[in-house]
Symmetry: C2
Subunit: 267 residues, 2 copies
């Protein structure tokens, strides 16, 4: 049996009782450790919390190997994912391979940024397509974010922009040298995101984003110390929002109750 278990967005205590029970009864417990990590993750704390020795699952282990599925054929295996289970295609792929191998799979859902963004007071049904914003490199400068914001704006819809996380990846320079030493994790913050959005505007000039465009910055959303900040992009470009993870919302048309909620978070 393979349990795919969402951990939610904040602390260890954000796991559900059902998820916790599944971990306790599993012989092997993996924590997915490449699409997302908790900024202040300490393995020993998690081991103590669950009373288990948690194995950190790298991309290679999950995508290339058969270890997880082989074990799940013989015993209960828990596979833990920050946020909810199906935030990344790699987990769908694991699910598919497990089912094909005849392994029973149970999904235990939890909060994800896609619904916790409702904590801003912006109505979930007034969001358009969600988009992500990757770090730019010398050779990779994707503009998708700009197009998604533009299309959502034209329909009056809000856009949730997920900011890039780089977990245990080698630097471009090391990659060129053939050295695969992982860099420390990097989390894009809101000012970096706004700089990229302004670069896109400067290049495309379609009047989608300007310094006076409104934005809502989210830090550690779903945690007890979550911080929500509302202001113009020019204002949000200069604020300190503390520890990661950060996300950014570009609101579309606002209802009066949404306006009122945003005024709570005004700079």
């Amino acid at each position: 049996m393979l349990y795919l278990i969402g951990l939610g967005l904040g602390a260890k205590e954000d796991i559900t009782l059902r998820g916790f029970a599944a971990v306790k009864q599993s012989a092997t417990v993996y924590l997915e450790h490449y699409t997302s990590i908790q900024p202040q993750f300490i393995l020993e704390d998690w081991n103590a919390f669950f009373g288990k020795s948690i194995l950190l699952a790298s991309r290679e282990l999950v995508e290339s190997g058969s270890e997880i599925i082989d074990r799940a054929r013989q015993e209960d295996v828990a596979f833990l994912v920050i946020g909810d289970v199906f935030g990344a295609t790699t987990h769908t792929d694991l699910y598919l391979r497990a089912v094909k191998a005849g392994v029973r799979v149970e999904v235990i859902n939890n909060a994800s940024i896609l619904n916790a963004v409702g904590n801003t007071g912006l109505e979930l049904y007034r969001f358009g397509k969600t988009t992500s914003l990757p770090f730019w490199t010398s050779s990779f400068k994707p503009m998708t974010t700009y197009d998604v914001v533009k299309e959502n704006m034209q329909r009056g819809l809000h856009t949730l922009i997920l900011l890039d996380i780089k977990v245990s990846e080698p630097s471009e320079e090391n990659l060129r040298k053939g050295v695969s030493i992982p860099e420390p994790p990097r989390f894009m913050n809101v000012p970096e995101a706004i700089d990229l959005l302004f670069e896109m505007e400067a290049s495309r000039k379609e009047a989608v984003l300007a310094p006076e465009t409104r934005g809502v910055a989210l830090s550690r959303i779903g945690s007890p110390d979550q911080l929500i900040t509302s202001g113009t992009l020019a204002q949000l470009r200069t604020v300190q929002l503390g520890e990661p993870l950060h996300s950014l919302v570009i609101p579309g048309n606002l209802h009066h109750i949404e306006e009122e909620m945003l005024s709570l978070w005004k700079l």
Copy 2:
């Protein structure tokens, strides 16, 4: 202190450890009982589970009265919501009034249909705007669902359609008579939803939905006994999906891994 706590989508055990601890330390515990209910809800079971006497919160209590906020000024109050906290405007309104009254509010998030729809294997970032589908009455036949599906389809995006729930509302007939006896709860099922969508198509004739259009039906998503069924709308119109809650997805363009996942649920 006011705790707004998401209960998740399945059983009692889908509350998070943080949410459970907040309930235990609260002097008063309300369960919001008008925007959603659990189909097999038994109050005594919940009281036993939490070791508390849970108060059922009607719309009048939450929206018109000051009882909840008055109590939260003096003691810890837990307000429980099926799914996640901010699925309905009424909760945003409660949040705003609490903050204005000087009450500290902590939100404890949980899974919502908006992220658990990822259990289908459809990628969450490829969904457009979510829409809901209300029961039609003789005088209220909204077509919004049709327009949202159409716009999302034009962009190749998936549409999640939330099917109406009627909780403790009087019937139209009784309302006309001035009798406000609440009817038993009603949950729209997938065949009823597809009938309505076909009525919209018959009236608008914009070739958005046809019997051969693909759909994905969700029953009790997020529960251990969740059921996902994929097929044409003509096929889904005739299936028995068991107990509520039901939802329906009209997929847009599909990636190969999404196709593969949907083939797991094929009729």
